[in-house]
């Protein structure tokens, strides 16, 4: 098995390799590479490596045109998780409250239906997608664009820990690899490759999330886009996707039906406030004539029930 050697070589030389190159440097590396010792070190640090030839390597990812030589894995869950039907939920890092609420609610609902949420652990939509899946109490898969031992962005170290508790964090890069701009599009191909369907929640016109969508389309996977306001720059990318034929996504059921999953009957929460969302607390006070204290209480009830979420002071329905 030279795949581990190849993955380490690619990481060390900062190259994008999927097949052994014909170079003297590679031969030298291969000769000096002590696979057993390296695996031992990986295991000691709590990582695993799943080679492309391994039966545990997800079939969908093997089917893309440039699959990585293997994946480094963090987390103790069975590797079979990677092969379960998954949905990639991606989008811009500087998302609006609308995008954040939509990403979290969608992730939560598809996760509840038994699908695995795959995303990139980045700020914004990615993080919300992971959080939504965690909220549903299901495992989720995060794909890093840096070495498997890194938490990038550092602010998401805690989120990464929670993801790895019940799910898996994967990367094609060996421990020690720094995050670099060119590695993120490469990471996106793994996000798209692991999932049978890709959902773009919010994306500017030239967003990395659109790269993920393009890669998914190239591989013939289903691509969904969440429609946004036509005047919002944050939705320019998703609206453009819709124009060229991506399926519009307005609720989790749109994805579930594509996987042939019967949408579960959701317990609808009966609240007059939900009808008035999105709105700020002050607007709700004015429109209902109730006190601020009273409205605050009910909004928290809705939040706890998962029917509403607040971003930047605006409450939105997520039911």
């Amino acid at each position: 098995m030279t795949e581990l050697a190849l993955a380490v070589f690619a990481s060390e030389t900062g190259t994008h390799l999927i097949r052994p190159p014909a170079s003297a440097r590679w031969s030298a590396h291969l000769r000096s590479f002590d696979q057993a010792a390296y695996e031992q070190r990986l295991a000691r640090d709590g990582f695993r490596f799943v080679a492309r030839s391994s039966p545990f390597f997800p079939g969908l990812l093997r089917a893309v045109h440039d699959p990585p030589p293997g994946l480094f894995v963090r987390g103790d869950v069975d590797l079979e998780l990677l092969s379960r039907p998954g949905v990639a939920i991606v989008g811009t890092r500087a998302c609006s409250g609308y995008g954040a609420a939509a990403a979290r609610a969608l992730a939560r609902d598809v996760a509840r239906a038994g699908l695995i949420v795959v995303s990139g652990l980045a700020r914004g939509v990615d993080a919300e997608a992971h959080r939504g899946a965690l909220e549903a109490g299901t495992p989720t898969v995060a794909v890093l664009g840096c070495g498997i031992d890194r938490d990038y962005p550092a602010a998401h170290a805690e989120l990464a820990r929670r993801v790895a508790e019940t799910g898996l964090i994967v990367s094609e890069y060996a421990p020690g690899v720094e995050p670099a701009p060119w590695r993120f599009p490469a990471r996106n191909r793994i996000v798209a490759g692991l999932a049978a369907a890709t959902v773009v929640v919010e994306a500017r016109e030239r967003s990395g999330a659109l790269i993920t969508a393009d890669l998914a389309l190239e591989e013939g996977r289903e691509v969904f886009a969440v429609p946004g306001e036509i005047t919002s720059a944050l939705s320019a990318g998703t609206n453009a996707l819709l124009k060229i034929g991506a399926s519009p996504l307005t609720c989790a059921d749109d994805i579930l039906s594509c996987f042939g999953i019967e949408p579960a009957s959701v317990v609808r929460i009966d609240s007059a406030l939900l009808e008035l969302l999105p709105a700020s607390a002050d607007e709700l006070v004015r429109r209902t004539g109730r006190t601020a204290a009273d409205i605050a209480r009910e909004l928290v009830e809705l939040e706890l029930a998962g029917a509403a979420a607040v971003y930047d002071g605006v409450y939105r329905a997520t039911g």
Partner: protein, 485 residues
Amino acid sequence: MLARAITHALVGLEPRRVEVEADVYENGLPAFVIVGLPDRACAEARQRVRSGIQSAELKFPGGRVTVNLAPAGLRKEGSGYDLPIALAVLAASRQLPHAELDRHAAVGELALDGRLRRVGGVLAVAEGARRMGIERLLCPTESAAEAALTGIVALPFRHLADAVAYLRGELEPDEIAPPRYAERVAPPDLADVRGHERARRVLEIAAAGGHNLLLGGPPGTGKTMLARRLPGILPALDAQAALEVTRIHSVAGLLSHDQPLVEIPPFRAPHHSASTAAVVGGGPGIRPGEASLAHRGVLLLDELAEFPRPTLEALRQPLEDGFVCIARAAGRAIFPARFQLVATMNLCPCGARGDASAECSCSAQRLAAYRDKLSRALLDRFDLVIAVPRPRADELAAGPGEASEAVAERVSSARELLAVAPLRRTAEADDLLTRAVDRLPLSGRGRARVARVSRTIAALAGAEDVRPEHLGEALAYRAPQELAA
């Protein structure tokens, strides 16, 4: 001939006894020297004292005059030593009875025409004198009411000549004129606020529980306007607190002649260009900073994210302990700083976040850098965090809201309730809190904050225990995760 007058130097707020010794050597070459580590203002007393004595139609002694400020190792700052120096020089030149001078402490600045001017820190000097068993303080008329707060017999004088005449037994000192309580400028009233139902409610809770409050939101929505209305609904200071605040304001030279005792909670709003020393205290002379000047009152940090991070981090310790401890080469000082922190900030650098009619143009990096300015540790000190939305036009046209006076009444009755006994959570409220910790998610500190706020809300409602509805409302004002991320 040798003579001695007594005054006090301040190290921070602590008075230290200083003996002003004067030695007049009639046969020496004419000179006037002040030793004992005077600062510039104190060393310049030479010119003021010489002119002041002559203007009082007394004789400045010929020959060599040496003044020593003992202990010589303690730095003496400011112009408050003028009066004791002049008195010591006069006693040393046999123009005053020594015995009388020993029974008095003295403080005050001299004008060139011999009049006495007020200085800062008279309250602390008077306290120091009392502690030393000295019952009488000679001071400028304008400072007498301030000194009298300590219970000392403050003897007000307008002119050096009067003070000398009194010590010679030729003049009875004036009565202390009762301070002319000037009409207070009323703090801004909540009645001016239109809409902003949630912010009004949160201000009331903050006032009742003394909670730190963070107002987020787009620019121009009224965050600062709301924050400035908090002092107006706070209860007046009790006697003990008023004296603490007055002491600090006295040292900082902020007391007005009309109002020697600070009875209403102070409100301080330093600009974000303020240095760390200006905010927490320090400087070469170790002076109280804005945090201490806001002791028992409100410290408003407008545009929180524009403050330099070291300044914000320096505030964490006083927020936790209620005092600032400043150590410098010149010494160490402790200033009380138990203030209520109110801060405002935009939700992103461009300011559009949280505004339905504008679109945020911040990149992910800028947004992250902006929010990184607030450490988790600092954010954790805010019990109440809300976003202030932009009010709609119809709302601005609406009538005035509830006036501060009505809110202040509810606040003070809630405070009384909270002071009696801590309210307990019912079992149902405990359940809700546990559920919230898992669902929202809430950190350990966040849980404690919500619990604290829920007690205040229950007290405002006049309830006997903390019920789920109180806790539920408290949860709505927790720090949102997008700020914490």
